[in-house]
Symmetry: C2
């Protein structure tokens, strides 16, 4: 971002950016790029779910899915997702409609009951901290904030969190109890953890005996290219490294079938699963097994999931390509921004000059384009460089998306050239 | 239970009871009266749910029910249940498949966040106690035990908990933060709270500024006779008494539609609702609105719920009548037991002589009839008189139920006459 411009050229560029922004603001747009929500056309792919399970009332083992019971969830559904989530069927739980709920509840139970390996409940400890690879997922950070868990940012690299930093922090501080990870096609960077990162997470020495990796494998099946990235199996690696209880695996079908009416999963060591089941047994008389059967009948098997995700990709890939195309056409070579080229997941990260992200988001809102608040990708909503903007291309139509990204690039040019002009 | 018998007569009765029990044990029964589970025939009444919402994807306000969002739940579903749960639509939440989850989560949030009116989080207080009207619901008590909340038993009367005791305890002890209530057709006694009880709960002075009535209106629509009992509106009474935040109302369709795949409700003052919604917003991106729409399309309106509950009653009433008939025929006039005659709900309470309940349950199990553990109706599973047995007639077929109750009466006679014989 050190392209040199003569001040005349800069004036011209700023002038054009101002005119473009005025034209944009005059168009009365109302576009929303805030959240990673599936588009209606994606949800339509699962229309069959809306009339299932039809005449079926029984699980494979004869259980009446309509009645109470079955805390661990239907075995045949767990079988379908065992492979993609890299958790043996017996160690996998199928639950309600939200993996975020499972993450929340694991924190609650760890706060109020001892997790396996813990000396005491987390709520009885003076300080609890979590490592937060940044940029990351705002709802993870919101959970920490809600429970008074300190957040320690750790920089992301192209292969996952900076493991030198992670290893040092977990080794020296027993109050560091966890780390948030989105290991495949991470939110928002699209990063995939390397095998080395996974191996080091599994093997590293932690001062806390009850340290947990919150492994939010939200995009395990969400490929955008022919290269279907596979990550190493952290649960198996932890077991092999003698730290079997280290990881909580989370996943869901929210971005596979229906965002609000899918099924969420939890996987871990047998001890962790027993701990969660024991706590859940006080809370619930079982998950919605009818919805689980619905998913079994609809998805059928792991191949069914893969075929379904190809149909999702057919809808999403053109949107991600449009984002790349417009960003390159409008911002390429300007030195005003860089951005990610994710091979899967739901987001593109746009990095603008330091101190510009909030202003870009503000200007975009002024032109009717709502973006995720700048800073949301960092703990406490504070991006110290004020440089990162998360783009969620999935929800708008392709045409709306193109308008929105084009508008966004006008805002980036406006704010970027204004900054340069001030500095000049 | 002071019927006098000559010792010859007692010997004869004991002899007959022993023979009857031997015959019973020889029949190889396998019957389960433990839990208040709907029978398959009851679940069949909601078969239409299994292919809903069919082609429908939108709520009344146009919301796409398949996507994320809508934390408060569908307004049209809340409208249907507003009347029977006595909560204004705007103050009612429609959530997941379990009201027990909502009770659990309210305790969690109160422990970890301040409830409206609280000086501090409950977890930061030295002691938290709940009043537990006994007999009561074992899952309520299990929640207290799980969170280390002390339980103080309060005797039930024919019109609800003994309010003299309740008023004294809440007035003198600020660590008493709540009371568990099943106000209509209570579990297990079938008691309905009188208007006076409701008024006193609303108006009583509490030492704790953050005292809550956990009002588990689980059987609000579950009538077994033509007399459809109505209870007074506690939420309105609290508001009128100047204690608007005192009550959390819970309900669900678990015993209306599908036990494992229904919808649960929470109702309270606006301040309480905002408190729960604020906490839930960190936990979830919304409930399963597809299942909520399914329920709207199936039940249609409050009249639809009433008509549906008439169909439930047609299945349940013969079972409850069979229990009464057999208990009266086998134990009437023996002085060995008394029992309740509920006008709704899911249970019959059988009271045997002090010290006999556990032994009756043990003998029944020996003959293949599994009952709820004696003591389950009391905090910590401890019925100090060891006298109460909860009968759940709903799940078995009528024929199985008749066998089970007949067998149970044989056990009551055996244990009762053995006790008298020992005392003689």
């Amino acid at each position: 971002m050190t392209t040199e411009l003569s001040s005349t050229t800069l004036d011209d560029l700023l002038d054009r950016a101002r005119k473009d922004y005025e034209a944009l603001a005059g168009r009365g747009l109302s576009l929303d790029l805030t959240r990673g929500k599936p588009a209606p056309a994606q949800l339509d792919l699962s229309d069959d779910l809306l009339s299932l399970p039809g005449g079926r009332r029984s699980a494979a083992d004869g259980t009446d899915v309509r009645n109470y019971g079955g805390l661990q969830g239907l075995a045949e559904l767990r079988e379908i997702f065992s492979g993609v989530l890299q958790v043996p069927v017996a160690q996998l739980l199928a639950a309600g409609n939200s993996s975020l709920e499972l993450m929340h509840d694991c924190l609650v139970h760890a706060l109020l009951s001892r997790v396996p390996g813990a000396d005491s409940r987390w709520v009885d400890q003076e300080r609890i901290a979590f490592l937060c690879p940044v940029p990351g997922y705002d709802r993870h950070f919101a959970l920490c904030e809600r429970f008074g868990i300190d957040m320690i940012p750790v920089p992301m690299t192209g292969s996952g969190p900076d493991m030198d930093v992670v290893e040092r922090l977990v080794a020296e501080d027993a109050s560091v109890k966890g780390i948030w990870c989105v290991p495949k096609y991470s939110n928002p960077d699209g990063t995939c953890y390397s095998d080395e990162t996974v191996a080091r997470l599994a093997a590293m020495g932690t001062a806390a005996p009850d340290f947990r990796v919150f492994w939010d494998n939200a995009y395990a099946a969400h490929h955008l290219t022919d290269e279907q990235v596979e990550i190493a199996d952290l649960l198996a690696a932890c077991e092999a490294a003698g730290n079997p209880d280290r990881v909580f695996v989370f996943g869901s079908t929210s971005k596979i079938t229906l965002a609000g009416a899918g099924v969420a999963f939890f996987g871990a060591s047998a001890a962790n699963v027993q701990w969660l089941l024991g706590n859940n047994a006080k809370r619930s008389i079982g998950p919605d097994k009818v919805n689980q059967l619905r998913h079994v009948l609809f998805l059928r098997d792991a191949d069914g999931v893969r075929a379904h995700m190809e149909r999702q990709r057919a809808l999403l890939q053109p949107k991600f390509e449009a984002v790349q195309r417009i960003l390159e056409a409008e911002l390429g070579g300007t030195g005003l921004a860089t951005w990610t080229h994710p091979k899967g997941g739901y987001f593109v990260s746009l990095e603008v000059a330091d101190g510009c992200a909030k202003e870009v988001v503000r200007r975009a809102a002024g032109a009717g384009i709502v973006l995720t608040p700048a800073g949301a990708t960092h703990p406490y909503g504070d991006d110290p460089r004020d440089a990162l903007i998360r783009i969620a291309p999935s929800y708008p139509t392709l045409e709306e998306l193109e308008q929105a990204i084009l508008g966004l690039t006008a805002c980036v040019r406006l704010v970027g050239y204004e900054q340069r002009s001030t500095e000049a």
